[in-house]
């Protein structure tokens, strides 16, 4: 039977209650998330065409073998890795800087904090649309600006250029997601005891040292959690990339999710798509495990455990 916390014993009633509470959402998720997942797992071992989804001849590990040997998997993994790492570094980094900037009191701080969340509120489709226009070679505002300042790349069609496409996509993604980091870190900054900052100032610490010794230790758990979430979400980000470059040109922005979608809906090969999906999921799981191991080790070193 359910094992309740000591204080819970006093509230003892129907001991089926916890299961009843958890059941609806469990059933829902099984139906709409885990059963489809299981289906994907199964599909990855079949050769299935998009137009004949119920015809699933079993092919064993053929899909995986193809991906690893002849397919584009190495490039896809590489692009995914770069995209994810850069997203995390820049989104969390800029989020941190923005949060620090918005932390000190100044007139209009409330308004500023609200306005900085605009990118996060904008729908991905709209963001993809306007940024595609802004990156336009001839008429896009970015190139206008570059040309006006006599900087290079002012004539490039960013989204069509294999070297510039990924930076452009990264720029767009970071623009959209840094406010979330900023808001989360700002909330964490409120928990920094101001006396700790003052003690460091009196001890002669400059601004960086004050940050290192008084602020960072307090916000570190939050930032680490943020890194995990941004990583996982980057691994599954679809809308922006698909609408702006469809993974091109020549696979320059082809992350795993994009490749998955293309395999399934363009090449109509649901088996390969599912295989990529499984590989992607494995990557996400590995990342999560590594994350928890690293944070546990770090906490132990700091004397927390």
């Amino acid at each position: 039977m359910a094992d309740l916390r000591p204080s819970e014993v006093r509230l003892e009633g129907n001991s089926w209650t916890p299961y009843l509470f958890a059941a609806p959402v469990a059933i829902y998720l099984i139906l709409f998330q885990f059963y489809p997942l299981a289906q994907e797992f199964y599909l990855s071992f079949t050769s299935t065409d998009l137009l004949r989804p119920d015809d699933n001849p079993f092919v064993g590990l053929d899909n995986y073998a193809f991906l690893f040997e002849a397919g584009d998997l190495h490039n896809v993994l590489w692009i995914t890795a770069i995209y994810t790492v850069c997203c995390v570094v820049f989104a969390v980094g800029f989020g941190l800087l923005a949060a620090l900037l918005l932390d000190a009191p100044f007139i209009g701080r409330g308004v500023a904090r609200a306005l900085v969340t605009i990118p996060w509120a904008a729908p991905s489709v709209a963001v993809a649309l306007v940024f595609t226009w802004m990156f336009n070679a001839q008429y896009g505002i970015f190139n206008h600006g570059l040309r006006a300042l006599s900087l290079p790349f002012g004539a490039e069609n960013w989204l069509d250029n294999p070297l510039l496409a990924l930076p452009a996509i990264l720029f767009t993604t970071v623009w959209q997601i840094f406010p979330f980091s900023s808001v989360v870190i700002l909330a964490a900054l409120q928990g920094v005891p101001h006396e700790l900052r003052e003690a460091a100032a009196i001890d002669g610490a400059d601004r960086f040292n004050i940050f290192k010794i008084a602020v960072w230790p307090t916000i570190q758990p939050t930032v680490f959690m943020l890194v995990l979430f941004v990583t996982i979400w980057s691994l599954r980000r679809f809308d922006l990339i698909w609408l702006m470059t469809q993974g091109g040109p020549i696979g320059a922005t082809n992350t795993m999710v994009i490749e998955l979608y293309r395999q399934g809906f363009v090449y109509r090969d649901l088996g390969s798509a599912a295989a990529i999906g499984m590989i992607g999921l494995t990557v996400a799981l590995v990342v999560t495990v590594i994350y928890f191991k690293v944070t546990l080790a770090a906490e132990r070193a700091q004397g927390k455990r």
Partner: protein
């Protein structure tokens, strides 16, 4: 030299003036206590001295240097916070080394590898190590040097905070109610430890507290504040025996000084049918408040004494506190002490009970007079 001088210091938060015209000075080596109730401005004044708050007007001079425009790290002062503010992820040793590290800090120490090497080098230097160990020994922290703040008790953390202040060997030690978070017994022992520390290492101490016992026992000079204004600045003895106004009189002492409505004429203070003959003659004739401490009153014979009735009796052990409502006079005690009683302390265990008649004799030599309108002290 670490004398401190506040010259006409004021502080306003927007339109609200919180510190008004503070002008006091203490000599090198003094133990200045800023005393007062919550919100009186004592912590603000301390923080202005430290550089954690800016000043709106006036000057602060330490030794020969004007410091009020300097950032906190450059005033050669150490600050002990009420919450100790220890660096949570550093060991006790590292907490105490940190100020020394900052003193030696060069801008390139911010670089990752270079910085760490430089830091290790400084931490291992013999003079640094000696200083830490010496300070740890003085504060009985030697066994705890490698532990983390989270594993220490309140009193131990307090001492680490003190240690962190001491290693800098600053000119001035600032303490913001450092004992408030400790339990009563610990507070008493830490009090004497801090006083002993002051004696041993010299330096000027500025100590903020709302506890008048701490102020009276620790301070060489006390500034009693209320609403941003200093009510009286002097030694403990002066403040006790020679209060400047009724606020000071009622703040210091447990139980506080009694204030009785009386009429003053020449050398007589009259209330009801009683008359007290004062040692000096006063030129003013006025309605006054007669101030007399509970231990300057005795209870005894009916003959020539002030009559009253006992309304409360408290047995403390070594003495008893008896509250007597006078038959023919009123006190000027705060409205919330609605008993309107003159408090008297007598040694030992009194036999008096609530409702008994009591006859009070006042010692005129210890009586002080205040204007009943302004509360200011009247002098002959």
């Amino acid at each position: 030299m670490s004398s401190i001088r506040f010259k006409n210091v004021t502080k306003s938060f927007g339109a609200k003036e919180v510190i008004r015209d503070i002008d006091i000075a203490v000599a090198d080596g003094e133990f200045l206590v800023l005393l007062g109730p919550s919100g009186c401005g004592k912590s603000t004044l301390l923080r202005m001295l430290a550089g954690l708050e800016s000043i709106s007007g006036g000057e602060i001079v330490v030794g020969e240097r004007r410091v009020d425009q300097l950032p906190p790290g450059q005033r050669d002062m150490a600050f002990v916070f009420q919450s100790y503010a220890l660096y949570p992820h550093l060991s006790v040793r590292r907490n105490m080394t940190f100020p020394l590290l900052m003193q030696q800090f060069q801008w390139w120490y911010h670089l990752p590898l270079v910085g760490r090497m430089a830091r290790n080098r400084i931490e291992k230097r013999p003079d640094v190590v000696t200083k830490i160990e010496k300070t740890a020994r003085i504060l009985a922290l030697t066994e705890m040097l490698d532990r983390f703040p989270r594993t220490l008790s309140g009193g131990q953390r307090q001492r680490v905070a003190l240690g962190r202040a001491m290693v800098r060997e600053p000119q001035v030690f600032l303490m913001d109610e450092p004992l408030s978070n400790l339990d009563a017994k610990l507070r008493t022992s830490m009090r004497s430890e801090i006083t002993a520390l002051h004696r041993e290492i010299g330096g000027t101490f500025v100590y903020v507290t709302h506890d008048q016992v701490e102020a009276m026992t620790m301070g060489t000079r006390i500034a009693l504040m209320r609403d941003g204004v200093i009510q009286q600045f002097g030694t403990a003895r002066e403040i006790y025996t020679d209060p400047a106004n009724t606020y000071v009189a009622r703040f210091i002492g447990t139980p506080p000084m009694n204030l009785i409505h009386a009429s003053l004429s020449g050398d007589r203070a009259s209330f009801g049918s009683s008359q007290l003959r004062l040692p000096q003659t006063y030129t003013t004739r006025a309605e006054v408040l007669l101030g007399i401490r509970p231990n300057a009153i005795s209870i005894g014979q009916k003959e020539g004494a002030v009559p009253g009735r006992v309304v409360i009796v408290e047995h403390i052990g070594a003495e008893s506190v008896i509250g007597v409502r006078l038959d023919e006079a009123r006190t000027a005690h705060e409205a919330d002490q609605s008993m309107d009683a003159v408090m008297v302390t007598v040694p030992g265990y009194t036999e008096l009970a609530v409702g008994d008649a009591a006859y009070l004799s006042f010692d005129p030599a210890q009586a002080v007079l205040f204007s009943s309108t302004s509360g200011e002290r009247l002098r002959p």
